[in-house]
């Protein structure tokens, strides 16, 4: 099991619970959409997976380990196995696009010779090969999103969490990104994509978790455009 939520509830400090008794599991090699209206708590749910927030109640399992109360020292190694495309990108403004994408490798103390080509290739693929030395403040929202995507993939994550990854890019790029997630997933990476882009969801026919009113409503695959594959 890659991710397990067991009756997880979450309340930000001094506020009412925004997630209530959420339970689900994500198995190895699974692909899942996370939908729900804005403010439903999609980002908050993802935060608990990438260990930026601890649940108020309930238990979270990650890569088969109970991480609900994992000691702080145990978190970095777990986070390194997760690639996150943050909704608000979270790039470092004082670093170039290249350096931002390379960040997970730098943080791991890896020799630049070992990742330089990978970083270039990812940036080329997201169409930013010519903006490799640009800093985020000079990039458009869509460009930042693509840098964030490249950074999420560079360390070969076992779990990919994408929070509205196509929210700022044009439909062609959006489709391309989704296709990449599908391919990564085929090769073994588990994927959760939070989105409300119905056309994308419908095109792919993957299982959906729907958040509303603080609760999770499992939905089987939406009526697929093409025959739905394994969920």
């Amino acid at each position: 099991m890659i991710v397990g939520f067991d009756n997880v509830s979450l309340a930000y400090e001094g506020e009412p619970e925004i997630l209530r008794e959420v339970s689900f599991t994500l198995g190895e090699g699974e692909f899942r959409f996370l939908t729900g209206p804005s403010g439903a708590g999609k980002t908050s749910l993802l935060k608990m997976i990438y260990l930026a927030h601890r649940p108020t109640r309930g238990a979270v399992t990650l890569f088969g380990e109970d991480v609900t109360a994992a000691p702080r020292e145990a978190l970095p190694a777990l986070r390194r196995r997760i690639g996150v495309v943050f909704q608000e990108f979270r790039l470092l403004d004082h670093l170039t696009a290249f350096e931002n994408v390379a960040l997970p490798m730098k943080v791991a103390g890896i020799n630049p010779n070992q990742y330089r080509e990978d970083v270039r290739e990812l940036l080329n693929w997201v169409g930013l090969g010519h903006r490799i030395d640009a800093r985020p403040p000079s990039l458009s929202g869509g460009e930042k999103q693509r840098v964030a995507l490249a950074r999420a993939l560079v360390a070969k994550p076992d779990l990919i969490l994408a929070d509205e990854p196509t929210g700022n890019v044009d439909p062609v790029m959006g489709e391309k990104i989704m296709k990449l997630f599908i391919e990564l997933n085929k090769l073994g990476a588990a994927v959760i994509v939070a989105t409300h882009d119905i056309t994308l969801i419908e095109a792919l026919g993957k299982p959906i978790m729907h958040l509303e009113g603080g609760r999770l409503h499992d939905q089987p695959t939406t009526p697929p455009a093409k025959k739905g594959k394994r969920g």
Binding site: R72, H94, V107, E183, L184
Partner: protein, 321 residues
């Protein structure tokens, strides 16, 4: 194969391939390049404060060194020398007793040199108080004998004392003991104060580092949070901050040290220009030895600030999540 498949193949971990580790050992840490922005961590103000502290610490340390040099000079001068004062009712008694005393001195083992101070010289010593003129004519000025003795004799003057008072009842042996005591005490308290200033400055360095490290963390909160989210350990973040402090610290502390050296040099020049310190005050000796001693300041200050910054960061982060 499609573009996407190509990329996917490169960015999914092959079976058996280890996930990315973290920087290990000294080399791994060295390779971890600076990731915090230059502008963070207080920059210029912190450098300035460290420069000032470094200046104060260097001056304090130099004062400490000067005092021990000077005290050494004074006391060894005093230690080697004795003074015998011969009082008497009239000039003849004084003269004859002086001769007796000289005879005793010449026959005492351990006396290196004994010199009866000529009358004119003694009178000259009194001139500042009594004015010019033939003082000796109406005052019975005691005679003085300056004696230099070896360490053995110096350690035990009792026999000499007995022999002197037998031969010349008016002779008073002054071993400068009181002066010696007072000078040593003065030197000790001077040194203590200089040392206290040095320690206080180091303490202030710690305090400043705590504040600056906390402020730096707060100012770089989002950056630190992103570093954590992509897998950085607290240790990695602490290294980043520590490195910034080392760079700022080195810059500041060497600026302060240079300023201190300049000040000491100028003081030394002024002292020499003002008639020379030759008498009572020892000269300020600016040499490689002092320089190397003062190097303690940047080393100590950098170590103290960087280590404090590191601990502060680790402590602050340990309270998160």
């Amino acid at each position: 194969m499609s573009d996407e498949q190509n990329i996917a193949e490169r960015f999914v971990r092959a079976p058996g391939e280890e996930p990315q580790g973290e920087p290990r050992g000294f080399l791994g840490r060295l390779r971890a390049e600076p990731l915090l922005p230059e502008a963070g961590a207080g920059g210029a103000p912190l450098t300035a404060v460290i420069a000032v502290m470094s200046f104060l610490a260097a001056i304090a340390l130099a004062v400490f060194v000067f005092i021990s040099d000077a005290a050494g000079e004074w006391t060894s001068e005093l230690e080697r020398g004795l003074t015998i004062q011969i009082k008497g009712a009239d000039a003849e008694t004084i003269a004859s007793q002086t001769q007796e005393a000289m005879r005793v001195l010449q026959s005492t083992e351990g006396v290196l040199e004994a010199r009866a101070v000529p009358k004119e010289e003694s009178e000259k010593l009194l001139e500042p108080w009594l004015g010019k003129g033939n003082i000796g004519a109406y005052l019975n000025i005691p005679a003085l004998i300056e004696v230099r003795v070896d360490q053995n004799l110096r350690n035990d003057l009792s026999l000499l004392r007995t022999r002197l008072s037998a031969a010349a009842p008016g002779a008073v042996l002054d071993d400068h003991g009181e002066w010696h005591e007072r000078l040593s005490a003065a030197a000790r308290s001077g040194q203590l104060m200089a040392f206290a200033v040095f320690i206080l400055v180091m303490g202030a360095g710690c305090a400043i580092s705590v504040f600056a490290a906390r402020a730096g963390l707060a100012a770089n909160r989002e950056i630190v949070s992103i570093l954590h989210l992509v897998g950085a350990t607290d240790d990695f973040v602490a290294n980043q901050v520590q490195r910034r402090f080392l760079v700022l610290g080195l810059r500041g502390t060497f600026a302060g040290l240079a300023l201190a050296m300049l000040t000491l040099g100028l003081t030394s020049l002024l002292m020499r220009a003002g008639g020379g310190p030759s008498g009572f005050l020892p000269s300020i000796k600016l040499g490689p030895q002092l320089f190397f001693t003062l190097l303690i300041v940047p080393i100590a200050l950098c170590l103290v600030t960087a280590a404090t910054a590191r601990l502060t960061v680790l402590r602050t982060l340990s309270k998160e999540l």
